[in-house]
Every structure is written in C-alpha cells, then in structure tokens.
Symmetry: C2
Subunit: 517 residues, 2 copies
C-alpha cells in the first residue's frame, strides 16, 4: 500500500484518458505511466536513495504532478518548497529535509541558484524554455533513462514532508506516510458526492494540501487534472467550459469573484458538481448567489490542517441546504468528522469536554501525520496518545457539528473570562471604516490580559478609538470589547495563505514576560 499504487491503478483503469492538461498540451495516464518510472530512474542515477528527500520549488504544472509519483517510485520522499516563502524560509526547509536534488521551473530560477549557493544541490529544470546553464533538463533526463521498477515503499514509510508556517514563526516539516496519504484519499472519495469521470481544475498550489490532496484523490479516481498556474476569474471560467471541469477547490473569496464577473453567464460552468472550499465558513450571501447563478455546483467545506493530511471534518452540500432552511447556526460550522476520523474537544486537563463547551479540537485517525520531521519535541507536544492537538479552539454541538472558535493561542483570558478574538474582530469588521483588524491579549495588571485591537482604516476613511469601542459595545458583550485600539497605516503581517500573524503582533507587547496560554 503505497502512493505509487494510485498511479498504477489510474493507468490500468483509464489508460487513454487525459491525465494532465497544462499549457495547451495533454498527456494520457498511459503516457504519464511511462514517464514516471523514467524520471524515477533518473533520480536514482542522481543519487536519490530510499528515504532521502527530493525537493521542488515551482508553480503548478503537469510535470509537478508527476513528481508526486516519480519521487516515491524511486523510493525517496517528496519535500515541496513553498512558492510564497522567502529565500531564508525555504533555505530552512531545504536544509531540514536534507534534499540534494531540487526541481525548479521558470518562476524560481534565481531563487534556486541562491538556494544552491555552494551547496551540493542538483537542480532539475522543468520549465518551458531553454535549460539554464548548470541545470539538468527534466525532459532530457526522462529520455536518457530506462524505466525502473517501483521501489515498493511500505505503508508506514515516509512519503512527503510538507513545511508549514501556520501562525508560528518556526516552520515545521509535517511528515506524512504512504498510509496517511492513501487514507485521506480514500476518505475523500468516500465523502465526495460524485466519483466517476472527475475532471479537477487546479488553481491552488500543489506544494500545499489544497493542491496536493486532489493530486492524489483525483488520480485515485482515474480522473483528469486541468492545471492552471493560479486563480484568475476569466481563465478559470474558460478552463471549466473547455474541459468540462467537474471538481475544483476554491476559497469563498474566489467563489465570490466568479459570481461578480459580468461575463459569468457567457460561460457554461454547469459541468461543475463539487467545489471544495475551506479556511472559513461560506457566507450565506455567497451561498445564495451561488445557488442562483451556479445551480449545478455543490459546495463541500473541509476543515483540516497539514498535520491531518488536510482533512478532518466535512460540511457537505446537502448539510448546507438543510442548515440554511432549518439550522442557521450550522452555517458557521466546519461540519462533522469524516469517515474513519475521530474528532474530540479536549479540556486543558486532557479529558473530553461535553457538548457545546469550548476546548481544543483534537483529531485521531489514519490521516494524522506520523510526526514532525526532525522535531521530536514538537511531535511529542502535538501528538498525545495518538490524538493530534490542532491548536484550534472549538466546540461540538449535539449533532456532532464542529465549530471552530479561535486559535487557542489567540484566545484572551481577561478577568477570568475567555474572549475569542474572532468575535471581537468580526464586530470591528462591521464598522464601515475598518479595513483590517486583529485583536490580541496584552498584559494587564488589573485583568491579567486586556483586549487590545490593532486596526488599519480604509483609505480616506476615519474613526477614533472611542468610536470603535462604542461600535463594539453595540454588538458584543462589554467584557469582550477592546480596552485599547492602535491604528496602523500599513497592512498587517500575514502568513502565506493570508492569515494575519497575530502572534507577531502580540509578541511585541510581551517582551520579557510569559503568557500563561
């Protein structure tokens, strides 16, 4: 049971179906099935041994998709670098993984050279132009090597190391085994409403699970990958129409952008049946617009993290429809545990919290990572008795729906009350002048912590601290309202996926002190 088996099945089941469509060319599964063992041979010849990591720093492409299979085919593990990270961040990931081979495309030639420096790093060029000096050509390597047999890795062997920044500064490599990836892929197919003849549109980076997940489960269904370099409304609508796309992964803002396209009705988007989204609940207004203008689309919210191979709970489309009609509260939920996964809410003492009590969301099952790579301390802190501590605060209702309240560390304990910073931020965002808002706990002699807001106003708009505090008092409990407001003129610092780095903002107030949470 190893990930290469996913590819072998696809090429047995649908040898003549298009496996990848990218940049005006397409390849059948049979062709991909011939290319992968050749690239595996090249990697072996270049010195990749069982258990070594092989890295990539590139935009999505058909070649990138092949790496998910060629690297384990030669027995190595994949370490994708983050296309949004700085050179020092990727430098850390590259060194931590120990990779001595790096795949690179046209977008990252300079960065790859910097990463290489004086190090013993082989660069394999998988771009669309002339192979730069000092690099090997992906296609030449493929042609120069005869296919080798699958290294036939075992279920518990390392398959991939995904480096996450999350909201902490120190990035960590999440080590996923072959079993983790097979398990999450089967779970996806078991929960998706349609599984036959899938054509997936990739707009999310494959270096991240939002792109890597479909790379596995769509291949497992012997479907087709239509690959775009990034999300742009018109190319997305064109690709859906041209390739009769059935599946995609989009965040609610992207869905909203599509719905606001004046040319939306000129495209036939009715082939789409499943749109997976994550990161936040679906705003009801977007959902209603989608039901009107994209009536064939079913939306499937997922909650998970890299540590759970991207999947832990699912809020299915029919559950959305029931929720809108009868249980509006559920529209804020992240759905219920997916088949084969177990989710619980834990109290600080480790016991299970009762229904509707907020605690830490913990996850168990075969999707859960084996460990953090090279980081026993973080592994031991995160995996307790096979439960993965998500670091997210949340609660579960009587029907098993999970609600994510806040990152646990973003919770503020003030005067003995717990304040979830998102509640306060949501209130601030409702003020017409607020563009960005982050709420953190800062030291307070009187309250232990005090609720503090950091706000960026919209261009040309104004508001005073008193106004904003009064605005909050009109919407949320007094103890939750900011005691102080700080205005900034520049955008707040964010993680690569756009989350505000509240820990960075908060840490400035805690120099030389220790927070209790």
């Amino acid at each position: 049971m190893q990930v290469t088996q996913i590819l072998r099945q696809a090429l047995m089941e649908q040898p003549d179906r298009k496996g990848t469509v990218y940049n005006g060319r397409s390849r059948t599964w049979r062709e991909i099935g011939e290319r992968v063992p050749r690239m595996a041979a090249a990697l072996r010849a270049l010195g990749a041994r069982e258990g070594d990591c092989v890295a990539a720093l590139a935009m999505n492409s058909d070649c990138y998709l092949e790496l998910f299979f060629s690297i384990p085919w030669c027995g190595a593990a994949f370490a994708p670098l983050n296309i949004r990270w700085s050179v020092p961040e990727n430098q850390f990931a590259l060194r931590d993984s120990g990779a001595r081979i790096l795949f690179v495309d046209d977008a990252f030639l300079a960065e790859a050279q910097t990463l290489k420096g004086d190090a013993d790093l082989t660069l394999i060029y998988m771009g669309e132009k002339q192979t730069p000096e000092g690099m090997l050509s992906y296609e030449d390597l493929m042609r120069a090597h005869e296919p080798i047999a699958d290294a036939d890795r075992k279920a518990d062997d390392l398959y991939i190391v995904l480096y996450t920044s999350g909201t902490t500064l120190q990035s960590k490599g999440v080590a996923l085994s072959h079993r983790n990836v097979i398990s999450v892929s089967v779970a996806f197919l078991a929960t998706l409403p349609h599984r036959d003849n899938l054509t997936h549109l990739h707009v999310g980076g494959m270096f991240h699970l939002s792109g890597a997940g479909p790379a596995w489960y769509i291949t497992m269904s012997a479907g087709t990958h239509v690959i775009l370099p990034k999300f742009e409304p018109v190319p997305v609508m064109e690709a859906i129409t041209e390739h009769k796309v059935t599946n995609c992964v989009l965040v609610p803002t992207m869905i909203n952008m599509l719905l606001n396209q004046p040319t939306l009705k000129q495209y036939d988007l009715s082939s789409v049946r499943t749109c997976v989204y994550g990161g936040s609940p679906m705003p009801e207004a977007i959902m209603k617009a989608a039901m009107r203008d994209l009536p064939t689309w079913g939306f499937h919210q997922i909650y998970g993290m890299t540590e759970t191979a991207g999947y832990a709970t699912a809020f299915k489309w029919h559950e959305h429809l029931i929720a809108v009609e009868r249980f509006p509260e559920r529209m804020k939920s992240a759905g219920r545990p997916v088949v084969g996964m177990q989710v619980r809410i834990a109290r600080p003492d480790g016991s299970e919290a009762p229904v509707r009590e907020t605690g830490e969301i913990q996850i168990r099952g075969d999707n859960v990572m084996t460990r953090y790579f090279n980081n026993e301390k973080a592994s031991a802190e995160s995996l307790v008795n096979s439960w993965m501590r998500s670091g997210d605060a949340g609660y579960m209702d009587e029907d098993g729906f999970v609600y994510i309240a806040d990152r646990l560390k973003d919770m503020i304990v003030t005067g003995g009350e717990n304040v979830y910073s998102v509640d306060v931020e949501r209130a601030l965002y409702q003020h017409p002048s607020v563009r960005e808002a982050a709420v953190v706990g800062i030291p307070s002699e009187k309250w232990g912590e005090a609720v503090h807001a950091i706000v960026v106003l919209k261009d040309g708009m104004s508001a005073t601290a008193d106004e904003l505090m009064a605005h909050c008092r009109s919407l949320i409990g007094g103890y939750k309202c900011p005691r102080s407001v700080e205005f900034r003129s520049e955008a707040l610092p964010t993680t690569p996926i756009g989350k505000i780095r509240k820990n960075v903002l908060r840490d400035a107030y805690w120099q030389g002190r220790t927070r209790k949470i």
Copy 2:
C-alpha cells in the same frame, strides 16, 4: 480510530433515523446508542476484560447487530461462531478464542448448552421468548446496567476473530483489527455508487463478512439495517417494498430466484440501487434478465476473503455494462483492486507475474488481517512481506481486471502442464447427465499427477466414463481431459458456503504420499 466510533457518528448524524428493523420492531440510532453502552457495562460486570473474546451463536437480529459495537465498547473482541458449523467445529472456535461469554438465541439453545458442558461459560440469551434456566437475559442485563464510557481501543487492537473453514479442514481464526474494519468500511463507501440514505437488507449471516461488512459500512453511512433471518424470495420482496431497501448482498443464485418469481412484478423493488454479489461471476443471462426486470438495480461484484476483511477487488456496475457491450471476456473477471488495496499475481519464486500469466493472487493493504489468531505458523505462511497469499490462482489483464482461475491447491500439474480444475469441471457440467463434478489431481507414475473426475449424475440419467471423457475432448485441450472418472451416488462434501471440498476428495488418493503443490 476504533469501530465504536462508527456507531457514535451514526447516532450524531442520524439520531432519529431507524438503525435496525427486525421482527416487526425498529430502533433509532439514538436508542441503539443508549443500549450499546449498557450492554458493554454488563459485559464488563460479567468479567470481560480488554482483549478478551466474547462469542455469539445466533441467527441475525437487531441484537446481533448491537454486539458489533457493545463488545468493543467494553474493550473486548468479538468471536462470532458459525451458524452452519457442527458442535465440534464451534467447540474448537470457542476454545481457541478463549471466550467465556456466549450470546445465544432461540435457534441454538441446545447447541449452546452442549458447548457449555462443564466449562466456565456464561450464556446470554437474546431470543424472543422466556429466558431459559441457566442463562442471563439480554434485555434484563441491559436494564440493570448504567452506560459506561467507550474503552477507546486503538487502531491496531484486535476487534474481531472470524473463524473460517475455507476449503481446508483445520479452521483458523482470522484476527481483524479496528484499523482493518474501518479501512474496509471506508473503502466500501468510496466505491459504492450511492452513499446517502442507505437502507440495507440483511439476508446473509452476520457471523460472516457478507453480513458483518454491511453491519459496519451501512452504520458508517448512518443508514438503516433491515434484518431478515434468511433468504426467502417472498419475504425479501415484501421487505424491499415495505422499507424501500436501497442495498443488499445476494449471490447470483438468489438473484436468479427473485427473477423467476411469478409475483415479481407485484412488488415495487425500484428502491434498490446497489446489489453486491460475490462468490462467482454473474452469468450473462441473469444479468440481462435483471436489466430488464430490475432496471434500477446496479450490481457490484466483490472478491475478497475473510483475511482481507471481505474486500479486495470490485467489478462495478458500469464496468459490467461496458463489458457486456465491448469486452465480453471481462464478464468472467472479479473486477479491479479497490481503492487503497493492492493486488498482484505472484510466481512461485515470489516475483510478480506479467500480464495474463496465471499465478497466485496476493493482496496488500489496510484491509488485510493482522494475523491468524493463535496460529503463528499459518500467519507466517500466509503473510509474506505484508502480502497476503490468497491461495487462489488467477491472472490479471492489461487493464487490471483480475480473473480467478482456481484455488492454487486445486491446480493439477500433469506432464509438466498446469490444468485448472475449474476448466475441466466447466466442461463436465455441460454434459446433460452431470449434476456435480469435481476434478482433482491424483498420483501418476507417468504424469506426476493425473486428471481425475468425480461425478454425480442426475437422477434417472446415465453416462459412462468414456462418454464423459469424449465429451470433454470436444470442449477442452486433450491434456486437460480426465484420465479416469469415478461415479458417486451421493452429493459431494461441501463447505458451509456450498463449495465442494476438493481437498477432502483429493486427500483420499494421497494417503502416505506428499503432493508437491
């Protein structure tokens, strides 16, 4: 990740849906969710400890279904006894499992008393009448105990021991872990064409995977179990109509019986969408009749064995439809490996056989049993480098379809040629006088082994050995034809599921000698 979680999710997702329908009564998942932890408490009070086995010998019922969850809820493992076995056979299974608690119903009261004998065995009566003396009442125990917390077993802990006779004389206990069962259930949901609002009709014994499998995956889908004691055409048609059954597991002979019912058209059987079958390919005539008279039914063939939790390959309905039209050969196949499972054909030296070469079918993946219970020797023989040796001979075509040629031990090596006994039997069955035929290899000075046929003729019909040999020569290669024919007047010995015990027939010829295979 443990099997009790399947129940917990069902009762969170569909608390008010009927979980079980049996003998005129039904219970919701909420009710079942309240009963199971009480029965677990009773088992604990009766001395069941973590890892102990608890046995049952009973026909299907709603209570039987509860055992799949109450036994692991108290931390024990389930050891269902075989309702078709003799007392000594079940005596062996009971002793081997070490169970000291046995659930029993009205059908097995006398056998249970015999099994108990002087042993320290607690009998729990889950029948419909007065509790017999010396037994405890299932319902009384439930009422007398307060619910306990789930024992929270781990993924690799033992969940169930299923005793198989297979075609060998010495029965073995197949030890399945929680992971095995979760994994096979998710794989079922990932391959079934429909997964929402499932209502399953149980006619196959739950002591066996054909009943136990749906007990898990239908519960995982939060569906309904409609439970009949056995297959009879009219009650089956009535139950489908009354309960709007969507799913069932039937063997082709049962499907054929339904199709031949003169009253078939008086029932509304259109709620059925998926009929899982196994044991043999679907005869084309039955398939065509089903397409005409049961047009909503999709047929899904599975191949597997107890050692793979019942599932290894699947031949899906749309694949049947394509096969009938374009690839008639595939109608004889058992389909392709299911998601997450790996199947290969191995040569005697352990290497992988090329396409269309017959070898041993071997299976790998999380469905594969952890071991045989209390039988290290058999475990070591069957599990080689995590591959489960099925003992079945077969081959795979270029599209990954698996064809089961024969039990490996039933293959005859004669004059250096391999003869698959089923080929010869198929020829014999085409003779109008033959009721039963078994072909085995017997010792031969000249050929190593010689092809020998054992035949039972139809009442009032006749045929000579020469006639049958000539008949075979008209259909199959000369080297495959029987060199000798033995006529018997009584039915040939069979396993509980109706397979002829060719090993018993063969062994009579090999007294004091050793077969090479």
